[in-house]
Symmetry: C2
């Protein structure tokens, strides 16, 4: 956490206050875990990584507030499990290896202008607010193993 703070004048406490949340130790812990890991984590993951004692329902409440405040993105992968990832200002997707479940981010969004064209063929929707795109394949390492 401290390396991060030295690079950036905004502390976790400031981030939390800036979105209107009190800086409790539980919130600081959850936020710092997500910042440090930079990847999608489940509630059990977060609880097991927490240095401070935290009730399960507190973790659920905190993460839900972070989602509302758009600090965190809620994701449901193919397993049906719920994961949470720190929001980055950069829109990106993921390639998931179907063998080892390794995840690589895809920096560019290949959809571009095509998105709104989707609603032209729709009866029920007139606008698209967001989208989620995951790619699947076998990574080079797993391909080599076979």
């Amino acid at each position: 956490m401290h390396q991060l703070l030295s690079k950036n004048p905004t502390t976790t406490v400031d981030v939390l206050r800036s979105v209107g949340l009190r800086a409790t130790e539980q919130r600081i812990a959850v936020y710092d875990i997500l910042i440090k890991k930079k990847c999608a984590l489940s509630i059990p993951n977060i609880l097991s990584l927490s240095p401070v004692d935290m009730n399960e329902s507190t973790a659920y409440r905190i993460i839900e507030q972070f989602v509302e405040k758009e600090l965190v993105r809620k994701m449901y992968f193919q397993t049906g499990k719920t994961f949470f990832e720190i929001m980055s200002d950069h829109h990106h997707h993921h390639i998931v290896c179907t063998q080892c479940h390794d995840v690589e981010p895809v920096s560019a969004c290949v959809l571009g202008k095509n998105i709104q064209s989707v609603t032209r063929g729709s009866h029920k929707f007139s606008t698209i607010a967001d989208h989620m795109l995951e790619f699947f394949g076998t990574c080079k390492t797993c391909t080599r193993k076979k």
Copy 2:
């Protein structure tokens, strides 16, 4: 169902038996609903559409068997709800209402040739085997309600 059968010599009963499942009225009902609707349905959707009396756990068991036998694809949308869709050779995506979780199929795939370009920026992958794309928005009905 019967229009379909006239086009195709394979009946639902034959399909079920061909994968080693007995042709019970519950299995026939679930299969026919999925064939008829051609889109992602939830267990409550299937139960409400069923002409035959069916217990919830029976529907869960049947759908899970269909997934194992690869008659049906299991999908987890970003709403956290589980949906099931008949395996079809026609590639398509979905728009999901973030309010009511209603799902509408999107007939065309807007990705097209852009898919393989994704691997050009990848270190770990050289080919993409598949992808999953979901759109989110508020459907016209839910927009009206607000």
